[in-house]
């Protein structure tokens, strides 16, 4: 968002994301608002923001592997499960602090995620996507059949703790989740505009040319998978300690598909797109879920079950409309808006 008539004099200035004082002002204002939100937000909205932040972390990972590196992955839900379980085991059974378990669960998920990227040596495109679906199911079958994961019963990870302070409520863990989300966003935003990020886009846009430029395809594809699964693992760990239950039945393929949907609605290859996509689809999902009982109570002749079924359809229909009328995602709309703002008041 640059107002008309702003120019750069140095390369460092041109490369900065925040270019003028107003940007810094906006950013700091937004951060203050975000951190003060639990003081005035209602319980439900705090919890909603928590779930949005976790969703954003997962989709950021997906954006890196799919949106930037072009390798579609349906494994996000499974790797989130890996992260959640690792964290739950490390804190619950080993007794590690949450703040150590958080990065470790990211790394563990990332390492297992390398297995998801392994087939990318030989296959690409949709075949690779299906391989990640296969990995999803293999992981989700393994989890309830191992002893360490509490089998089908799941685990109850404890709330995070610093000294004697426990982050045991939505308002408290909100600060952890939001902070981690901001850090992860900062990392992703910078990563995609530096060397590794350009290598990813090069692979996505033209893998032959990328190789000619000296980019080792397989290594960078694996790196992309590692990073995306790292993000999923971090999100899983946060989720586990927020809900305080990890259960094999809570990570399904439908979740993974939903994350891809968020990516598309938001727009591939764009970090703000992740925010748009996650927020739009999560709010839509919440909306249809709560419209159903409301509808049923206002128009009793509809009944609860048809209203619920309709909510499923509405979700599908909105996605259809989106794909037809805004195929490049909300991020594209945002770009158009930014450009017109840049030129304002001279529209030509």
């Amino acid at each position: 968002m640059r107002p008309c008539g702003t120019f750069d004099e140095r390369y460092s200035q041109d490369m900065a994301i925040l270019r003028i004082k107003r940007h810094w002002g906006l950013l700091i204002g937004a951060l203050i608002l975000l951190y003060l939100f639990p003081l005035f937000g209602s319980y439900y909205f705090i919890s909603l923001v928590n779930s949005l932040c976790i969703g954003i972390i997962i989709v950021l990972g997906l954006q890196i592997v799919s949106g930037y590196c072009g390798q579609i992955s349906f494994g996000q839900a499974a790797f989130m499960a890996v992260g959640a379980y690792t964290s739950a085991i490390l804190t619950g059974k080993v007794g590690l602090s949450f703040f150590l378990a958080l990065p470790i669960s990211g790394i563990v998920a990332g390492l297992i995620g390398l297995g998801g990227g392994a087939p990318s040596l030989r296959i690409k495109g949709f075949y690779l996507a299906m391989a990640t679906i296969a990995i999803h199911f293999v992981v989700m079958w393994l989890i309830p059949h191992l002893d360490i994961t509490g089998k089908t019963q799941g685990l109850h990870p404890p709330a995070p703790q610093i000294g004697s302070f426990t982050f045991d409520s939505d308002e408290k863990i909100y600060y952890i989740i939001v902070t981690v989300m901001l850090l992860m966003t900062y990392g992703a935003r910078n990563m995609v505009r530096t060397r590794v990020g350009r290598a990813f886009v090069a692979i996505r846009d033209n893998d032959l040319a990328a190789e000619v430029m000296g980019i080792e395809l397989y290594r960078y594809k694996l790196l992309a998978f590692f990073i995306s699964c790292f993000y999923a693992g971090i999100a899983g760990s946060l989720w586990a300690h927020w809900i305080q239950v990890v259960h094999p039945e809570q990570f399904t393929l439908l979740h993974a598909l939903n994350y891809i949907g968020m990516l598309i609605v938001g727009g591939g290859g764009s970090i703000p797109g992740v925010f748009f996509g996650v927020i739009f689809l999560r709010l839509l999902d919440e909306g249809v879920m709560f419209a159903a009982p409301l509808l049923a109570s206002i128009f009793p002749w509809i009944g609860i079950h048809p209203a619920a079924s309709m909510s499923v359809s509405v979700f599908g229909i909105v996605l259809i409309i989106f794909l037809i009328y805004e195929p490049r995602g909300l991020a594209h709309r945002w770009e158009i808006f930014k450009t017109s703002y840049r030129l304002y008041p001279f529209s030509h």
Binding site: H145, G261, I317
Partner: protein, 294 residues
Amino acid sequence: MKEFLQLAIPGLMIGGLYSLVAAAIVLVYKSTRVVSLAHGQLLAFGGLFFWIGLVVLHLPLPISILLALVSSTIMGWLVERITLRPLIGQPLISAFLMTFAIFMALDGVFQLILKGESKTYATLLSLGEFEVVGVPIRVVQLISFAVVLLVFLLLALFFRFTKTGLGMRATAEDHQLSQSTGINVRTIFSLIWIISAIVASVAGMGTAYVMDIHFPLPYIGIKGLIVALFGGLDSLPGALLAGLILGILENLFAGYLDPLVGGGLKDVAAYVLLLIVLLVKPYGLFGLKRIERV
């Protein structure tokens, strides 16, 4: 041996139905390069329409079949016309997501009709059973298997000998080229969706007959997708063979390995197989490897 056959023969019968779903997916992929999740719903609705005709409206069997086929035709056409045609020229992942969106949109309708219950064709055709080497086989299963083979035969004939079929094969090779030779690619797309919807609905009637109509029926579509990949996304014979193989192997996995690992292997088996196949033969058993030119 007897135990092996007891596992393999029912697997083969189910596998035939997987092949049909896979065939429907392969048809669409071959001509439009769209990988479809929506076929699970087309299948489920095929079964549902048949049930509506037979059980709700009490129509005679042939008319019910006709009703199901006609409704599926309309549905296939509508799906292509409304949702996928606007996406021509968009990235294929959008089209894939579109099929997912269709899946969700139709799932709501499917669940609305089902109300969590299970529907069946009740006592339609119970022609008894006979034994082959000690394995009981029901005549109905045999009939459904024969139908599977017949559909494949018809598809093969259609693509080899009719002008439309040839046009579709040409479209599969190159959209722009075939357009320039006077083939209307859009009509071909509509037609291919209609044909695939019909194939899926036949599979749906078969599956629903063997296993009733209840909530997981649409998810057979994902199985079909695995089978299609397993056989190679652009190969009809591959779909047939891969379906049969998967049907059998699934049962063998569950039969021999389940006790060792504590159950639940049946579904995972398909995915493990898929992973192995993709690593060994990246384009499926019969898929064409595309050579890239610089």
